[in-house]
Symmetry: C2
């Protein structure tokens, strides 16, 4: 397959991206565009393909109006089009691994026992991971990265939001006793024309400090 | 700005991506393409813009030949074009925050004291983060996600690699007593035509299990 996107076009979109401070509350993401962004979440790669996450997308305005109070008073969750809460699984247990292996067998039309060896290895590996939520939270951040880039490619704005009260989000979303817990948020929508942050120069350390060649 | 990439084109590239098992050791990434991928690393967003990372790119074949032994015997680091080690800062201290604030002031041509209030707030926030490396590792995974999507957009293959001996990588890269430590790897290059994994159906849980709307 030929690359479909030119390097300079991609970089232009990545430079265009910034963490939106003020969304245009009147602009909503259309269905085709959102559907592509939903796919970008679903297609995110994860360790062993385990997809240890759930993405909760808040579009209901009444619910969104309650979010600044549990987001360090930031307005992005209220004004954006789609507020995404990226939640991680608290535990990857054997039952979950089995459920995943079953989906591999079904999707790839394999023999029922084709994944048994891999499954047993994976059970042993996962048992040795000290903190499943920490591990899964890292995977969730891959999804956060994929979502922000995918949005930028489509000319859709985002604001990654660590500054949220995850316990309060769990409560409002009914996740208190769930296998998932809120890890990080991402507001998705369109920048307000008056958002001064859009024109602020992007701050990065010098290339030589950030990248080293061996 | 108009979106430059059509939603279905982007999704096609994301579907084309898979975790490469076997790279074509004869194919190297050209300079223009790599330069765009380097930019995608540099442009990765991070919490408060702190960029708590260093990206170490290994292209020297003699060094690459030593990597399978410290990568669970996986050959991707050896056969790929550019092996990227994404390293995270162990600690975000006040000196580092000050260095960052200085770069904001310089880049945005602000008054010398313009960032003082923000700086003081950030120092207090960062003091309360229990484990800086855990926090920074999450940021590193944003970069991992951004790199993999950026590569996919350009028709470049990747393999994310958690299965590396990070302590041994630190040793081989001279990071043992450094402020940075290896967190995760990403092999970048081109799939071998005989990599069977390329044609395996992508396994994902049902959309309704992964995404919920409120």
């Amino acid at each position: 397959m030929m690359p479909e996107i030119a390097p300079d076009q991609m970089i232009e979109q990545l430079r265009w991206r910034y963490a939106v401070k003020r969304f245009d509350a009147t602009r909503k993401i259309d269905e085709e565009t959102w559907s592509a962004l939903e796919q970008s979440l679903i297609l995110t790669p994860s360790s062993y393909g385990l997809q240890p996450w759930k993405f909760i997308v808040i579009t209901d305005q009444e619910l969104k109006d309650q979010l600044p109070a549990i987001s360090w008073n930031q307005k992005q969750p209220q004004d954006c089009s789609h507020m995404v809460i990226l939640a991680g699984r608290k535990v990857v247990d054997t039952a979950y691994i089995d459920r995943y292996m079953k989906s591999v067998v079904v999707t790839r039309q394999l023999a029922a026992d084709a994944m048994d060896g891999y499954r047993n290895t994976l059970v042993r590996i996962v048992e040795q991971i000290p903190n499943h939520l920490d591990w899964n939270a890292r995977q969730v951040y891959i999804a956060l990265g994929q979502l922000m880039v995918a949005a930028a490619m489509l000319g859709v704005d985002t604001c990654p939001m660590e500054g949220i009260d995850t316990a309060a989000y769990d409560k409002i979303l009914g996740l208190e006793d769930d296998v998932f817990t809120s890890v990080v948020g991402c507001a998705v929508g369109y920048r307000h024309p008056d958002d001064l942050q859009a024109s602020a120069a992007k701050v990065r350390f010098d290339r030589k400090e950030l990248v080293e060649y061996r």
